[in-house]
């Protein structure tokens, strides 16, 4: 006690309980986008991965081929995203071994919902968009929130620049705030070439105005069984991932540089 009294009070620091915290989440930027056509589906994402103002890498894929007809885009916390894709792929492999066929798209969608909701109280910090071809041959897009709420839609943008891209899609895909000419109607599905152009415009726009978007664009294009290449011919930077000549769904990837600043 006398020892304490010897010091002026402001030099006296009693032992106080200290708190430390570990934050298990971070945001890694980037944006993903998917659009469904009548007999195709386009799933795209940029490849920049960042944390705060630092770019970790200019090429970190966010879009992954799951099966011949299903592609998954994952955006948010990259570590969670990669782990989630890994687990989805594992479940799909088990399915293949058990049933000797690929899991149908709608089943993958429901599986993703249960996998996400299983982590309801320590969620994967990711937004998922699943695109591909349904069993009836139609193009489909399923979008998910981090805990598994999901919905089939014609188009969806998610991630850092979702607020920039989604209104553009509302306008150009759903024709929101547009009235068709008298006696005509807006198309329910757009041609592939048109969709590809819209995706490219969306990403160049987002790159221009959002610092976390850029470097390069990776776009997967899934064509339904028996569909012609209509719309893909003449497109630069497109590579086929499926075996040419096989009569199943065909998968293409288009890689395009975006601004790097």
């Amino acid at each position: 006690m006398s020892d304490l009294m010897a010091h002026p009070y402001h030099q006296y620091h009693p032992q106080q309980p200290q708190q430390r915290q570990f934050n298990p989440y971070t945001e890694n930027g980037g944006t993903i986008l998917a659009i469904a056509g009548a007999d195709f589906s386009v799933i795209a994402g940029d490849t920049r991965q960042s944390e705060g103002y630092s770019i970790q890498t200019r090429y970190a894929p966010k879009v992954f081929k799951l099966t011949d007809k299903a592609v998954l885009a994952v955006n948010g916390f990259a570590a969670d995203g990669n782990m989630f894709v890994k687990k989805v792929k594992q479940r799909l492999e088990w399915y293949r071994h058990a049933h000797s066929k690929d899991m149908p798209l709608r089943a993958i969608a429901r599986m993703i919902q249960t996998m996400l909701y299983a982590q309801r109280f320590f969620p994967y910090y990711v937004y998922n968009i699943l695109g591909g071809i349904e069993e009836d041959g139609t193009g489909a897009v399923y979008s998910f929130d981090p805990v598994g709420s999901y919905e089939r839609e014609a188009c969806r943008a998610a991630g850092a620049a979702s607020a920039l891209v989604q209104p553009f899609l509302d306008n150009q895909i759903y024709f929101k705030n547009q009235t068709p000419a008298l006696g005509s109607a807006h198309p329910t599905h757009l041609p592939l070439r048109h969709v590809v152009e819209l995706v490219i415009d969306s990403f160049t726009g987002a790159t221009e105005r959002h610092i976390e978007v850029g470097d390069s664009l990776e776009m997967y294009i899934v064509l339904a069984r028996g569909r012609s290449l209509q719309g893909l011919e003449g497109l630069k930077d497109v590579r086929e991932l499926s075996t040419p000549g096989s009569n199943g769904e065909r998968l293409f990837v288009l890689r395009k540089p975006l601004k790097r600043d």
């Binding site: 620049a161 607020a163 920039l164 891209v165 989604q166 209104p167 553009f168 509302d170 306008n171 150009q172 929101k176 705030n177 547009q178 415009d201 969306s202 160049t204 726009g205 987002a206 221009e208 105005r209």
Partner: protein, 204 residues
């Protein structure tokens, strides 16, 4: 900035400019009025738009009217858009450490003596000017406006095409923002005249 909500945008066209605002006035999530315009004429060919705290929008409208009137009397001529932009900037910077919570947008056409050129500018709440060549946006739907404007805008639009572009940009952006919307007002400014139109929008 999110107490009252609201958004404004301005765009450049070929020998014309356009400026638009929404009509919502809210108190947090509650919509109080749906006739609250945020764009005001400064001269016959300069318009000022403000998004942010509504009380400051009104106060600054009054202050700018006063300062522009004083300028007109002292200089015996109408103020140029660029001069007015600097007047806005210095008025806001006066309150550097206790700012008005608004972000302004200026859209206008320079006087015939200066070539009747289109002019737009934006600024932050303390008056840091941004002389954009294409478009400027402010308000609660600014992210949405940036994204869609980047997709729809192109250089050298004629007045009617510019009207369509700014209207589509604005409506689709505010429809994705809960704090903006409930109708919009658009002004197209050309050297000869100003065309003002009200737009019907979603009411949710």
């Amino acid at each position: 900035m999110q107490i009252n909500g609201g958004s404004v945008i301005a765009m450049v066209g070929k020998n014309c400019v356009a400026i638009a605002s929404d009509l919502r006035l809210g108190n947090q999530a509650l919509t109080v009025a749906t006739n609250f315009e945020k764009v005001f004429p400064v001269t016959d060919r300069i318009y000022l738009g403000m998004a942010g705290l509504a009380t400051d929008v009104l106060t600054l409208r009054e202050r700018f009217r006063f300062r522009v009137n004083m300028y007109t009397i002292k200089e015996e001529r109408e103020i140029e858009p660029e001069t007015f932009a600097h007047l806005v900037s210095s008025t806001l910077y006066e309150r550097r450490f206790g700012p008005y919570f608004i972000e302004p947008i200026i859209a206008g056409i320079t006087s015939p003596a200066k070539g009747s050129k289109p002019f737009i500018a934006g600024a932050d709440l303390i008056g840091c000017l941004n002389f954009a060549k294409d478009f400027v946006v402010v308000g609660t739907a600014s992210d949405e406006l940036f994204g869609i404007a980047e997709g729809l805008w192109e250089p050298d639009l004629e007045p009617e095409d510019l009207f369509e572009t700014i209207s589509q940009t604005f409506l689709n952006a505010v429809d994705r923002d809960a704090f903006s919307g409930w109708g919009a007002i658009v002004h197209i400014i050309t050297p000869e005249k100003v065309i003002t139109r009200k737009l019907q929008a979603r009411m949710d």
